[in-house]
Symmetry: C2
Subunit: 295 residues, 2 copies
């Protein structure tokens, strides 16, 4: 008898997979996992003092378990782990593995950006070593620096408009053709992503667009109709429902909203049920988004 | 008898330290360490097939030993190691340690860039975990994203003008005030670096300026008189002595020239003395720079 190759279903396009996860969950909520030792629950502070990487790993796994089925997507801030060197990278690997096992769509927030072969190495780091679904990238080096990240089964979110005060210094500058620098980056991203559209019409090259600049967001949405927006700055950074609405297309799709501090630090110092508090904060945000975006 | 605190000499400003290392060595040569398994010497290929991170570590240590006292500075491409996950980070840590022990000024080429506390985490990753002297960063997020990297005893090189073909798409765009986007980034970098000048008049915030655009380099040199230039693209990427001259100030200082592939892969397939070939290529480049820049 001839051995047959095991059946492998074809891999779904990464943008279709993300949208389908959002639809299943009922809200486009992404939990931003930015663990910092000084902000951990009291129960983890002792461990944090001697083994910081172990403490943020324990906390990360607890947050992932707490938010299951309330947030379809998790964005993991690489810097928080990298600062602890090899131990931190082990903690990051364990966090990524747990996120995959829970079924999250996983965004590695690493803001990588380089040229040629170095960009290919970073893509291998994100998708082969870390096995993330998405990675955040910087577009300053142009389209050849973006190409290695943009495929069928994994993708990237390129920084277009950031939510920090200093972001204006460069991103708001006006070009001689009337566009802002951020709008020029948006056009570059829209163009570079054209070749990688999924079945729902969205590209595997997305854009990071801060929630604190709603007027900018509306203009950027118009320039990038086929681009998924990853929107940080909801909640703690000051962005509300009205601020994020312009990030969506008319069909109610096209944006993923990240809340970080308002969820992962939603406990008080003496909170014995800190994981429960995180869960409830995620549920509240899920409800806010589901209701607010329907209205 | 009262125990006295051991004497610690005050830490030298990072830009002064770099210039002093260049002066001692006689040429502003930086070896770019971008190890790729497929390009390793035949002797390391077997190891590379099963343990790629170990193979690039062995190669890295050999390159560092080969170039001692010919190159005062080494630029280590983080992506080449990151692609192998935790094993790669161990190889990177060993490479960084060896570079420090040999007395190189160490640039971690990681092109990091983020906002607020995340930028602080990346600075901790580069200077506390990796213990590099310098790290390359991306300025798209503005001055608040650069500040954590710019100190007295360590510094950063911000991407201003890259040597890749796609870099023009954004960096050459013309603003309504007549500047190019790269020139606007240069002004931002010059301004953000002002507060961190060393004794020789150079800032601990430097700039990456590709060697393949000499006309741009001359204009950027004028806009950033107190900024050290890190210049990739010499040798294999096509830049020659005439291309890099505009990167220096009139006093003959102010730029570090990186050669990567033309040095670290300067051996043939059946080369038994591949480390010797690397050494000789570094010596040739040192001589070219020392002679060419004097003329």
């Amino acid at each position: 008898m001839r051995a047959e190759a095991p059946y492998t279903p074809p891999m779904m396009h990464v943008a279709d997979r993300l949208l389908s996860a959002v639809q299943r969950c009922g809200a486009p909520l992404c939990v931003g996992l930015d663990p910092v030792v000084g902000k951990l629950p009291a129960a983890l502070q002792t461990l944090g003092a001697t083994k910081p990487a172990s403490a943020i790993e324990s906390f990360s796994l607890a947050v992932l378990a707490a938010c299951v089925r309330v947030a379809p997507v998790v964005k993991i801030q690489s810097a928080c782990y990298e600062r602890y060197g090899v131990d931190g990278m082990k903690a990051l690997a364990a966090t990524l593995e747990s996120a995959r096992e829970h079924g999250y769509e996983v965004i590695l927030d690493a803001k990588r950006g380089d040229i040629g072969i170095s960009a290919e190495h970073y893509a291998a780091a994100a998708f082969e070593a870390a096995r993330a679904d998405w990675v955040t990238v910087n577009a300053y080096l142009g389209a050849d620096g973006l190409a290695p990240f943009v495929k069928h089964d994994h993708g990237a979110f390129a920084l277009v408009r950031t939510s920090n005060p200093g972001g204006d210094a460069l991103q708001s500058l006006r070009l001689s053709d009337g566009r802002s620098v951020a709008e020029a980056v948006a056009d570059l991203v829209a163009d570079a992503g054209k070749a990688a559209l999924g079945g729902a019409g969205y590209s595997s090259l997305g854009a990071v667009v801060g929630a604190t600049k709603p007027a900018d967001a509306a203009r950027l949405r118009g320039r990038m109709p086929h681009t998924l927006f990853l929107v940080p700055g909801y909640g703690a950074q000051g962005g509300g429902i009205a601020d994020i609405k312009p990030c969506f297309n008319a069909d109610g799709r096209g944006a993923i909203i990240t809340a970080s501090r308002s969820i992962i630090y939603a406990f008080t110092n003496d909170d014995d049920d800190w994981a429960g508090s995180i869960r409830r904060a995620a549920e509240t945000t899920h409800h806010e988004l589901a209701e607010g975006l329907r209205a």
